[in-house]
């Protein structure tokens, strides 16, 4: 599926809404709403609340995460914010500060 890519070096200040996958390599400030997977790659900076189907974080994220499926914080990720998802994984080496809310 076609997807949206925010390349390294690009800064978006505002709101992103999409029905497709989003890959962030650059900087996003504002809000991200996606129906599919959101990937925040290493080197990316996101200062935004993120709503998505699934979320993979390897970069820096400041904001609350809401995912309908799962959230994976990978090694090297740096996340400050609350996470709400059906399933959450935090890899060894990920930095995280916030609350986790899973469907228990």
């Amino acid at each position: 599926m076609a997807s949206t890519v925010i390349g390294a070096g690009i800064i978006i200040e505002g709101e992103i809404t999409t029905d497709e996958d989003v890959v962030v390599q650059g900087t996003v400030r504002g809000k991200v709403t996606a129906k599919e997977a959101v990937t925040i790659q290493q080197g990316a900076t996101v200062e935004a609340d993120v709503i998505g189907g699934g979320l993979v974080v390897a970069g820096t994220l400041t904001g609350n995460i809401t995912a309908s499926d799962r959230v994976d914080l990978q090694a090297g990720a740096r996340v400050v914010g609350n996470v709400k998802a059906a399933r959450v994984t935090i890899a060894d080496g990920a930095q995280f500060k916030g609350n986790v809310d899973m469907d228990v």
Binding site: T4, I10, I12, E13, G14, E20, G26
Partner: protein, 187 residues
């Protein structure tokens, strides 16, 4: 890293400023200024409701705003532009619609664009208007009415009555998205 391409996909809507380095390909909707040091391509499905600035701009979609190219601006078939165009080289292909002032030449980037008066005369534009040399006057090149309007919402009122004033390029209404509009955050 430096050659990364940013793609705003078809179903993606961006409300806010988009800036930085690297090439941009816009297939969705962007309401907010677009500034990059790289090239910008606005796809046939792309809609931008603000000024666009880049090195080389290739437009196949709709833009409501000024286009500033540090190298060139190319309006291709299917482009709909309402706004001024300024670049050392400007090309308007057959089938592109635009309304606004055009300024070509190397000095174009430095000078303020003078808005074209109501005398937007339909120039008999060759299929490709490329002005390599600087032209003193800003020339508004407006094509005659296209035989088939691209957008469904176009209203072609009296095409025969006023042949010298082609209907304006139809730019889709940008504010019909139902999502909540971003509260302006100053950062």
């Amino acid at each position: 890293m430096a050659s990364s391409v940013t793609v705003i996909g078809r179903t993606t809507r961006v409300r806010g400023r988009l800036s930085g380095d690297g090439d941009l390909q816009i297939e969705g909707l962007v309401v907010g200024e677009v500034v990059t040091s790289g090239n910008v391509t606005i796809d046939a499905h792309g809609i931008v409701g603000a000024n666009v600035r880049g090195r080389r701009l290739v437009i196949r979609g709709a833009v409501q705003g000024d286009l500033l190219g540090e190298e060139a601006v190319v309006l291709e078939d299917g482009a709909r532009v309402v706004g001024d165009v300024r670049a050392p080289r400007v090309a308007i292909a057959h089938g592109a619609l635009m309304r606004g002032a055009v300024q070509t030449g190397d000095d174009g980037a430095a000078q303020p664009v003078v808005r074209a008066q109501a005398s937007a005369k339909p120039a008999l534009a060759p299929p490709r208007v490329v002005a390599p040399q600087a032209r003193a006057n800003a020339v508004a090149v407006v094509k005659p009415p296209a035989p088939i309007a691209k957008s469904a919402s176009s209203i072609s009122s009296g095409p025969a009555a006023a042949p010298r004033r082609p209907p304006p390029p139809v730019v889709p209404v940008l504010k019909k998205t139902k999502g909540q509009v971003l509260k302006k955050k100053e950062r």
